[in-house]
């Protein structure tokens, strides 16, 4: 395993007092040094990263469900190959991220188990249903758009393997958002029914997308320490604001209206009305429209893949035996 192999050369935690070690670590962070897998790090930094990276990975994987729902019913071959390619990318993002988490000395099996048993969280947004084709446009445009806002600062995260995974991911996200916007634009310039479908999708996705940035800065549990460790670079509200400024003009270009009567422009920025945080907490706690369905899909996929994992192990053992016989 990657991190164990690296640990052979690792000088374990310095014998110095934890206080001194923590101060040295913080000094490295403050100097914008990247922390790498075999460097000493506070246990809490490791735990925070494992939680954040694995939840990010779970989100990419679970997120394949709502969009995968429309692959077989995409309205044209062009739309179908684009959607297939996007869902493939999301799977790849999950894999980059699981691998980054594994550099912190946690096994893939443990992480997957945390997801399947409901102990790990994933982004609340994927617990909403994709009812019409326009939802695929809205997801690419808004959900991937919000993800990009969140993910760009993570390319500068203090943990090297996570930062590098995020650079790879961000390069791939632009296509996701553009294909979504293209779908929305086609519908918005289409028949009356198509315009209505696009508007309906925006109406349903708008608020859940704003919630993707997480609770207001004052209420966010992990924010302060994550900022000090430079895992996070911006607060939730700041990122939400940037998203709003980028997205409101796009909605206007589409000729669609944002379902927020309090939305207004002041001081050079767009401002949204009150967000229903009770809904956010309910969805995160498992009470969203699709939580049970999403987890059931993951469990089923895992169970149905058991024979593949078993066969791969048997094949690997057989090849190792053959190699040993040849060497003997």
């Amino acid at each position: 395993m990657y991190s164990q192999a690296l640990d052979q050369h690792d000088r374990a935690a310095p014998d110095a007092e934890p206080e001194a070690a923590l101060a040295r670590f913080q000094a490295r962070i403050d100097a914008e040094e990247k922390i790498e897998a075999n460097d000493w790090m506070p246990a809490a930094y490791r735990r925070t990263l494992i939680r954040q990276i694995s939840q990010h990975a779970h989100s990419e994987i679970v997120g394949m469900g709502p969009e995968g729902n429309w692959i077989t019913r995409a309205p044209s071959l062009r739309r179908k190959v684009a959607l297939l390619a996007k869902v493939q990318d999301e799977c790849g993002h999950g894999l980059y991220l699981y691998a980054a988490a594994e550099t912190l000395d946690v096994s893939r099996e443990t992480l997957v188990d945390q997801l399947l048993t409901g102990r790990a969280k994933y982004s609340s947004i994927f617990n909403y249903p994709t009812l019409t084709w326009a939802d695929i446009g809205a997801i690419g445009w808004l959900v991937d758009g919000a993800a990009i806002m969140n993910q760009i600062p993570l390319c500068r995260c203090s943990y090297g393997p996570y930062a590098r995974a995020m650079i790879r991911i961000c390069k791939e996200e632009s296509f996701h958002q553009r294909q979504g916007f293209e779908i929305m634009l086609t519908l918005a310039r289409g028949s009356e029914a198509q315009v209505a479908m696009a508007q309906d999708a925006l109406d349903r996705w708008w608020w859940p997308v704003l919630m993707m940035f997480g609770p207001p800065d004052g209420e966010s549990q992990h924010s302060d320490q994550s900022m000090a460790w430079k895992i996070k670079r911006f607060g939730n509200d700041g990122l939400r604001g940037k998203f709003l400024d980028a997205t409101v003009p796009q909605a206007r270009y589409l000729g669609l209206s944002i379902p927020d009567p309090a939305l207004h422009f002041a001081d050079g920025h767009w401002h949204h009305g009150p967000i229903d945080w009770a809904e956010f907490r309910r969805v995160l706690a498992g009470g969203g429209p699709c939580n049970a369905e999403r987890l059931a899909a993951r469990r089923l996929a895992h169970a149905e893949g058991a024979w593949v994992r078993e066969a791969a192990r048997a094949h690997a053992a057989k090849s190792a035996d053959a190699l040993a016989a040849k060497a003997a």
Binding site: Q8, H9, E32, E33, K34, E36, R78, V81, A82, A85, D89, G145, G160, A163, R164, S174, F175, Q177, R178, Q179, F181, E182, L185, A246, P249, Q250, Y253
Partner: protein, 96 residues
């Protein structure tokens, strides 16, 4: 009969700067991992080439067959729809 090899081949990877991934630089011969690291330091980083070194036994590397590169990588070169420029976003909308 050839003399017993008293060293083996190691692949050397260098992290050029803080935050970058290690990149393959070349190989060294050495009897064990520690000597391989020293040899890599002496051979590949005499002019400040890096801030971190990895050495990996060359025998541990499984490589794709260059003769198969055409078919192996073809699926990645025939899908223009995996690129952002495949999608039309009007200039007025701005960068996306």
């Amino acid at each position: 009969m050839a003399a017993e090899a008293d060293s083996r081949l190691w692949e050397v990877f260098i992290r050029a700067r803080n935050g970058l991934a290690h990149q393959h630089a070349g190989s060294v011969h050495a009897a064990d991992a520690e000597l391989a690291l020293q040899a890599a330091r002496d051979t590949y980083t005499r002019r400040g080439e890096g801030v971190s070194l990895w050495v990996v036994p060359s025998a541990a590397i499984t490589a794709s067959d260059p003769a198969e590169a055409g078919t192996l990588f073809e699926p990645g070169t025939t899908k223009p729809y995996r690129h952002p420029t495949f999608y039309a976003v009007p200039d007025e909308v701005g960068h996306m």
